[in-house]
C-alpha cells in the first residue's frame, strides 16, 4: 500500500515536471526605453500574448541605452543572446546572428510599414526586424514667445529659409528677452538634418560609396559653424556640455532642433508655455531625418518561431497604433490611419513632423540606415566640433569624414 502510494506520487511528480516543462516556454526580451510607460506597455502585451498562447512567457530584461551594444556583444560572444531585442541599428558584428523574419512571415512582411524603414530592415531579401516607430528630426518652437513677440510662424507648406528663420528667432529673442535663439541637440544625427537641408548626403545612391567630399557637405559644416559664430546657437552646448533640452524645457530658448520623440516628455514636463513643431527651415532642400526603432529576434533562439510570431503580434496594426498612441510617437505602419493622440498640441506637433519626414529626400532615410553608419557617427561629431572650435577648416573636416566613410565601407564590404 505504502509502496504503491510512493510509486503513484513519483509518477505524478514526473508527469507534473514533464507537463510543467512542456508548458513553460520562456523567451527573453532585451529592452531599452526612455519613458517607463513603454515598459508597462511591453509587459502588458507580453501578458496578452501569454494568455492567447498558453505555456509561452516573455520575460523582459532591461538595459540602459548607452550599454545596449556592449550588453549585446557580450551575450552574443557568450553564445547566449536574448530571443527578442529592441534595436536602433544593426551593427555588422551583430547582423550574422539576427533571425530572418521572411522565413516565417514571407517576403512581403514589411509591406505595410513606412518604406524608408522597411528598406532599412531588408538586407538583400533578409528581413532583420519589424519597425516599432519612426522619429523625425525637426525644429521645436516656443510658441508662447513667438506670440508675445508678435512674430508669425509660417504654415508647414510654405516653411522658411534659414535666413528667414534665423531672422525670426532673433527677433523673438530680442523682443522677449529670451536667452537663446536656437539650441541644437548635440548629436551627429541631428547635425545631419542640416547636411540634408543643404542638399548633401553621406553616401551615393548605391550606399556603397561616399558622397561626403561634396561642396554641399563642406557648406553644411561651414554654415553650421556660422550659426554659432553669429551667436544664434550658444557655444556652451556643442563645445561645452550644456544640454539643449534642459534649456528649452526651462522656457529660455526660442527654437530647438530635436525631434518627434520629445513630444511626450514635453507634454509631461512643460507646464508654463506652449510649444509647437516646425516647419523646418531649409537651405536648398526641405528635409527632416528619419530615425527608427525596431524589434528583432536572434537566430540562436530556442524558439525562433515563437519569437518571430511575437514580433508579428507586437507590430500588428492594432498594437502598433496602440504603441504609437501611448508613447506619442509616429506609427511605423502606413495602415494605422490618423492616430488620435488625445491632445491637440501633441497631435499637431506629430502631424507636422510626420509631414516633414514625408517630403524629405531619399538619403535622409537610406543614409541613416546604411550598415556602416555605426562606425561613422563618432567621426562626424568630432569633425563638426573641430570646425566649430576652428581646429579644422570645413574642407579638412569633410575630408576626414569622407576618409572614415570610405574606410568603414572597405572594411565591411571588402575591397
Amino acid at each position: 500500500m505504502k509502496r504503491r502510494f510512493l510509486l503513484a506520487s513519483i509518477f505524478l511528480l514526473v508527469v507534473g515536471i514533464f507537463a510543467f516543462g512542456q508548458a513553460q516556454k520562456e523567451l527573453t526580451a532585451l529592452w531599452f526605453y526612455d519613458d517607463p510607460s513603454e515598459l508597462e506597455f511591453l509587459n502588458k502585451k507580453a501578458a496578452e500574448y501569454s494568455t492567447s498562447h498558453p505555456g509561452v512567457t516573455i520575460k523582459v530584461n532591461t538595459v540602459a541605452y548607452n550599454d545596449l551594444f556592449t550588453r549585446l556583444t557580450q551575450l552574443v560572444a557568450g553564445n547566449n543572446p536574448p530571443d527578442i531585442v529592441k534595436l536602433t541599428d544593426i551593427r555588422p558584428e551583430i547582423e550574422p546572428f539576427i533571425l530572418d523574419l521572411s522565413k516565417y512571415h514571407g517576403k512581403d512582411f514589411l509591406k505595410p510599414f513606412i518604406p524608408g524603414v522597411a528598406a532599412a530592415l531588408n538586407r538583400e531579401g533578409r528581413i532583420l526586424g519589424a519597425p516599432l516607430d519612426v522619429t523625425a528630426n525637426g525644429i521645436i518652437l516656443n510658441k508662447t514667445l513667438f506670440d508675445k513677440a508678435g512674430v508669425a510662424i509660417p504654415s508647414k507648406e510654405k516653411a522658411w529659409t534659414y535666413n528667414e528663420f534665423l531672422q525670426a528667432i532673433s527677433d523673438v529673442k530680442k523682443k522677449t528677452g529670451a536667452l537663446y535663439a536656437l539650441v541644437w541637440d548635440v548629436t551627429p544625427h541631428r547635425w545631419s538634418t542640416y547636411l540634408f537641408e543643404n542638399g548633401g548626403s553621406f553616401y551615393d545612391s548605391t550606399g556603397r560609396k561616399s558622397n561626403f567630399n561634396s561642396p554641399a557637405a563642406i557648406q553644411a559644416l561651414r554654415g553650421f559653424a556660422d550659426m554659432f559664430d553669429k551667436g544664434y546657437i550658444p557655444k556652451s552646448i556643442w563645445i561645452g556640455s550644456e544640454n539643449p533640452r534642459d534649456m528649452f524645457f526651462s522656457g529660455q530658448a526660442v527654437a530647438w532642433m530635436s525631434g518627434s520623440w520629445q513630444v511626450k516628455a514635453m507634454l509631461d514636463n512643460i507646464k508654463n508655455f506652449e510649444w509647437t513643431a516646425g516647419p523646418n527651415p531649409y537651405v536648398t532642400t526641405r528635409s527632416s531625418v528619419l530615425g527608427y526603432k525596431f524589434v528583432s529576434a536572434f537566430s540562436t533562439s530556442k524558439y525562433p518561431d515563437i519569437a518571430a510570431d511575437f514580433i508579428k503580434f507586437f507590430t500588428s496594426k492594432e498594437n502598433n497604433s496602440d504603441y504609437a498612441k501611448s508613447l506619442m510617437t509616429i506609427a511605423s505602419r502606413t495602415d494605422t490611419g490618423t492616430i488620435n493622440y488625445g491632445n491637440a498640441q501633441a497631435s499637431s506637433a506629430l502631424n507636422n513632423l510626420a509631414y516633414e519626414l514625408a517630403i524629405s529626400p531619399l538619403p535622409a532615410s537610406t543614409d541613416i540606415a546604411n550598415p556602416v553608419m555605426g562606425y561613422v557617427w563618432n567621426t562626424v561629431k568630432e569633425n563638426v566640433i573641430a570646425v566649430l572650435t576652428k581646429t579644422k577648416t570645413a574642407e579638412q573636416a569633410a575630408a576626414a569624414i569622407n576618409a572614415q566613410i570610405e574606410d568603414s565601407l572597405r572594411i565591411v564590404y571588402g575591397k
Binding site: 556652451s236 556640455s241 572650435t389
Partner: protein
C-alpha cells in the same frame, strides 16, 4: 623574521587573494594580451567571413607608434598625472592633519569631505556640469554677482583641462585623506611628547616625526593616486566627454572608443592597453624603488 627556514605560513595567508586574482584577473588579462596580436572585432567567429580574426604579430604595436590620436592621448594622460598626483597628496595630507584633531563634530566634517567618494562618478560629473556650465552654471552666476565676466570653463581647451583636474582632485581627496588619517594614527603620541619636551616647534615635529614615520602611507597614496590618474575615464566622460574637441580625451577613453566604435579595431585597442599596462607597471615599480621601502 628572516630566520624562518620553511615559511609555509605566508603562502597560506596570501593564498585566498592570489587565487582570486589568478582566476578572475590573470585569465582574462592574458586573453587581452593575446588579442593585441590579432586584427579582430569584438566578436570573433571563424565560420563567418566578416567576423574572422587574423594573426598580425606586432603590427598593432607598430601602428600605435605613429598614431597621433594615441600619442596625444598618452601625452595628455601624463600631463594630467603629473599635475593631479602631487596636488592630491598635498591637499589630502593637509586635510588629514586638520581633521585628525579631536574636535567636536569632526566626524561630520570628515564625512563631508569623504562624501564625493561615496557617490558614483556619473553623479559627480553631472553636479560639476551644473557648476561649470557657461550659461546655466552656478559658478558663472556667482562671478556675475561680483561683476566678473562669465568664464568658458568647459568650452575653452585650457580651462576645460584645468576643470577636469580640479574636479578629479576634489573627487579623490576624501578617499586619500581617510588613508592619511589612518597612517597618522599609527604614529605614537609619545614621540611628539618627547619632541615637545626637547623644544621642537610644530614644523620641526612635522618634518622630523610625522613625515618620516608616515612614509609607508605616503607610498601607498603615491602609488594609488598615480594609478587612478592614469586610469581616469568615467568622471571625464561624464564631465566633458573628452571635449571640447579632444582636449580632455585621455588614454582609457581613447582605447574604449577604438574598441567599440571602429570596425575590427579590438586588437589595436588591446595593443594600446598593453602599452598602457606596462607604462603603469614600470612607474609603480619605480615608485617602490625610490621610496627604498622594498629593500626592508
Amino acid at each position: 623574521m628572516s630566520k624562518r627556514k620553511i615559511p609555509i605560513a605566508p603562502y597560506i595567508f596570501i593564498a585566498p587573494a592570489i587565487l582570486i586574482f589568478l582566476l578572475f584577473i590573470v585569465v582574462p588579462a592574458m586573453e587581452g594580451f593575446l588579442q593585441s596580436l590579432f586584427t579582430r572585432g569584438i566578436i570573433v567567429r571563424q565560420d563567418i567571413p566578416a567576423l574572422r580574426s587574423r594573426f598580425v604579430g606586432l603590427f598593432n604595436y607598430q601602428k600605435l607608434v605613429s598614431d597621433p590620436r594615441f600619442l596625444t592621448a598618452f601625452g595628455k594622460t601624463i600631463l594630467f598625472t603629473l599635475i593631479t598626483v602631487p596636488s592630491i597628496m598635498v591637499v589630502s595630507l593637509s586635510l588629514a592633519l586638520l581633521l585628525q584633531e579631536k574636535i567636536h563634530g569632526v566626524g561630520i566634517a570628515r564625512a563631508m569631505v569623504y562624501w564625493p567618494s561615496m557617490i558614483s562618478p556619473i553623479i559627480i560629473g553631472i553636479a560639476w556640469r551644473w557648476i561649470l556650465g557657461y550659461d546655466t552654471g552656478i559658478l558663472n552666476y556667482f562671478l556675475t554677482l561680483f561683476h566678473i565676466d562669465k568664464q568658458p570653463w568647459l568650452i575653452d581647451n585650457a580651462r576645460a583641462f584645468i576643470s577636469v583636474i580640479v574636479v578629479s582632485i576634489w573627487a579623490q581627496t576624501g578617499f586619500f585623506m581617510v588613508i592619511f588619517i589612518g597612517g597618522l594614527n599609527t604614529i605614537p603620541d609619545s614621540y611628539y611628547e618627547a619632541a615637545r619636551i626637547d623644544g621642537a616647534n610644530k614644523w620641526q615635529q612635522f618634518s622630523g616625526i610625522t613625515l618620516p614615520l608616515l612614509r609607508p602611507t605616503t607610498l601607498l597614496v603615491l602609488v594609488l593616486s598615480t594609478i587612478n590618474a592614469f586610469k581616469v575615464y568615467q568622471l571625464v566622460t561624464v564631465l566633458t566627454s573628452g571635449g571640447p574637441g579632444r582636449a580632455t580625451a585621455f588614454l582609457v577613453q581613447n582605447i574604449y572608443e577604438e574598441a567599440f566604435s571602429k570596425p575590427l579595431s579590438v586588437g589595436y585597442a588591446a595593443a594600446q592597453s598593453v602599452v598602457f599596462f606596462f607604462v603603469m607597471l614600470l612607474l609603480s615599480i619605480a615608485q617602490f624603488k625610490l621610496s627604498k621601502e622594498e629593500s626592508v
